[in-house]
Amino acid sequence: MSEIPARCASFEADLSAWIDGELDAGRSAELRAHLAACAACAGRVEALRAVDATLREVARASGPAETARIERMRAATAARLRGDASGRLSRRSAPRRRRMVTTLAAAGAAAGIAAIVLFAERTEPTRETTAIARPAPPSPSAAASHAIAEAEQRAAERPASDAFASKGASTPPETPTATPSDEELELASALVAEERGAPGPGDLATPIRERIAALAPADREAVLAAVPRLRAMAPEERAALLERARRAREHPAE
């Protein structure tokens, strides 16, 4: 370990900041000039950079091993967001608590948390769960919600909705019900937005469910048949569809 020349010592504290691009232009230029003239300091900068290269390599190499852990955390986070206090990850195993979800939902977990049903759905895609697990809305629309759940269950049981639900299915498969109208799509979309955690001002959610419940049975089925497809869409895709439907309704001539 040799003595540090004063000139070098004056730059020492700035070496890392320089590597990180945190020096101002003036100081940066001075340091560059010094490094060009001082092999010892240039060597130190290289040694410091080697640390970064090593750390990044370490980070990169650990990536693949993390996949299973991330999946486990995702399931556990979803469970906890549903308000499932016992869903706290029991360290090494991610519990699959489908039944717990249902129970909690029936108990009326906070409406905002309904959004997370979707999140959990990816982890464990079971249509019957999502149909059942939707938290019961406030009592005025309980009946409407029940009707929706029932109809949705029927819709879910049709093989066609599998293809609807599968991501990337660009063309809807044949269904026994009519293709939903724009207004029906709008309703379905609003329903999906609501389940994704848009409880909004509270007066928004109930009318959607009631409006759907008030439809003729065939129309209601058409709305609900569209729900899985809408669920599979990215938010902006859904928003665009909704906008088109709204325009079509407001300007039917176009």
Partner: protein
Amino acid sequence: MSEVDEDVRLMLALRAGDGSAFEALFRRWSAPLLRYLDRMVRDEADAEELVQETFLRLYRARERYRPDARFSTWLYTIATRLALNELRRPRRQNPHRSTDDEDAPVVLPHGGARADDVAHARRIGEAVEGALGTLPERQRAALWLAAVEGLSYAEIAASLATTEKSVKALVHRARLALAERLGEKWEART
């Protein structure tokens, strides 16, 4: 749309009630958070727990989110504070906790570390990671966030609730300590 904008967009969507935005944010950020927290708490199960907790807090705080700070700063601030709290728990015996004097002058050996072999540095990543674990926790956080996650000193200062000047010293001392360890490895090899 830049990656940064995408985070802001997702966070605003989440604030507006779009639950799918939460999943997207989880997908984007869980891996970097996990590798950071692995290094911070040095226990896989604890790190996983803290990743979850970070996202839960993010979710609960969604309505307070304002797009005036980078999303990553916000996220790492939550994660860092959780990690530092975790390390202060009594069951943790961290011998380095109190040695982290940010205002002490940086004293360096000169010419101690060999600088010319990045490829070899990769091969001894394990040793460096071990050395990383022996650093004081704030140095460890600062270096990882700067060198691996690419946060600015201002962002790291926010995460650690300190000044940029302190971050500059923390990062430099951490990097030097690891460079010395790398240097020793090289010396030992020759």
